[in-house]
Symmetry: C2
Subunit: 390 residues, 2 copies
Amino acid sequence: MKTTRNFLKHLMLSIMMLAPMGLSAQWGRNPIKSPEVQKDGKITFRLFAPDAEKVELSGNWMPGWGTKVEMAANDTGLYVITIDPLPSEMYTYNYYVNGVKTNDPSNAIIVRDGVNNQSMFFAPGEVANLYETQDVPHGVLSKVWYPSPTLDKERRMYVYTPPGYAESNKDYPVFYLLHGAGGDEDAWTTLGREPYILDNLIAAGKAEPMIVVMTNGNAWSSAAPGEEPASDSNEQPDFSQMVRGGFEKSLINDVIPFIEKNYRALKDKDHRAIAGLSMGGMHTQNITNSNPGKFTYIGIMSMGIMNDPRWNNGYNEEEHKQQIAALKDSGVKLYWIGVGKEDFLFEGVTNLRKFYDDNGFDYIYRESTGGHTWTNWRIYLSEVAPLLFK
Amino acid sequence: MKTTRNFLKHLMLSIMMLAPMGLSAQWGRNPIKSPEVQKDGKITFRLFAPDAEKVELSGNWMPGWGTKVEMAANDTGLYVITIDPLPSEMYTYNYYVNGVKTNDPSNAIIVRDGVNNQSMFFAPGEVANLYETQDVPHGVLSKVWYPSPTLDKERRMYVYTPPGYAESNKDYPVFYLLHGAGGDEDAWTTLGREPYILDNLIAAGKAEPMIVVMTNGNAWSSAAPGEEPASDSNEQPDFSQMVRGGFEKSLINDVIPFIEKNYRALKDKDHRAIAGLSMGGMHTQNITNSNPGKFTYIGIMSMGIMNDPRWNNGYNEEEHKQQIAALKDSGVKLYWIGVGKEDFLFEGVTNLRKFYDDNGFDYIYRESTGGHTWTNWRIYLSEVAPLLFK
């Protein structure tokens, strides 16, 4: 009884403070819980939509692009669907209300993929454990602006310093981790769960403590949406810069010197790693092909050889042969290539491997299931990070 | 002609890389632009919803809670509304599609207020200039986990270090900035635009360079949604902790020692400031009333005297008198109180002022227009920060 009175008292207090913020509906009594992972692993999604005619659920666990399943309404207008248990993973989903994509208003957690905002949840288990916050020492994740004379902008990046960095005086190796087209510097920290993957791998003794630098690979922009100057956000993005090499130059000329000046970074090739996905895999190839001896740990995720004639990027096979010969001579310790069997770039990756095989260039190949997805890139990060600096 | 060919080539490249991520619709030709601030200042909102029957717009510039205006569809199913120019500010809005709240899928920028995700834009001008990224030196914003023995958790906070911090050896004053009920450690960095407000004030010579610490004031939780351990997020929040004083104790016993150990912080009362909004204004009062001589700069935003008998928080007027007498003796340099005329806590603030007047306790009073809103709290931050450490 006392507990009930106390509960009501505090509920009233909460509502007094919350009501004007429009939160009482969610924080008050009988909030709609969605998604709800049931004890048997089944997952229930709910949306209150009494005036909707059609409510659908679309999730990244469904086969094919844009697959939707219809939700059924009860007589109060609450649309509900319960799905069978999913393998442990981080999942994203949206509702479609009369055909319009919406987030789940009962789920605070949204992750952004480019301009695409999606609701997110974890299906508990081994994979989620690697991506979620655990009771282990945590690194510090910082949003840092740095000058880029190469691109004539102040630009933003994230710097992850590992647990113990602040308390120690030691120098750390640095891992440069690049996102794909459509993404920005936020991507590896949100969709990619980099801070938690590294915290968890380091705590388990599987990865060396390292600094991880996550840049913005869009040479025409300064920072993620909402963080860039108005002058930037009002401009039309200049996608042609994707293949002009500006970002690659700025990483070498601006980013690395900034990191090695402002952080306790080890400053030799054996303590620099670089990896990227999709466009970031292209950037990684461009950077390492042009700068042998800068990095000895290299990872290419979901990106093939860059010789598609439609790109008109000046691909020259002879030059490429010379570049990888120089890379080989520079003492590369890890050249890792990963791709999913269903990736639309799978053939390009096969061609890249053939080129390396034909030219006696060693690499580790990881072929996963699935396609060009963050599900794969998180797994690749969790597999590549343990191979670095060892 | 060559430009066109180049454009098409790069567009093709973009789409090749982007299509599998579902982004081509937005990044390709003829994307739907929304919101669009026109040259004459009018603002156009657009949503493609051919199967919807009713689409409404609700924005925080509209009078009253939950006000919506209906949008009109053209014959393709594009719903459009153009509104008159708004005063320069940061605005949030949602669409309602057949009554269901949605974000604007054409706008990447979402800010979260508790569980409430809202699309965001700036109406350009003087106020937006203070809140947006400018071409000025930027501080570093870090997500930091710290141990809280008081609350028996690892907890997360943000630490803003001012421009020049990394390059200098000097020690800095520290400003502890607390959010309200329903918020968490993210709030001041997103809705509150703290990093940009401070960058811009410091660049203009209006505020001293300072460290700003933004904690999570919810004693039952570790971190914002998506960042907390699974063990946390599965628990029902214990709102009763709002008035039990645990957070207040942890700020004194855990947060301040952590900051003063790990950052180059000045460690005396004249270089510590604290302010908070709503519940954070309650926390600020509790902390400063119980710890005279810890802070000499104090700000109470949108929070009154905490003697509402319904709260049953053990309010004791005699004790309060003694507390503010001790606070006065401790040499407070700034006691700032701000509230909007339409705030639902306005009367409580009036009562707090009367109590201070009756007991000879000096303060600065700032009465603004508006209510219990982030519009006010951003303005208050931009006015309070320049008064600190001077």
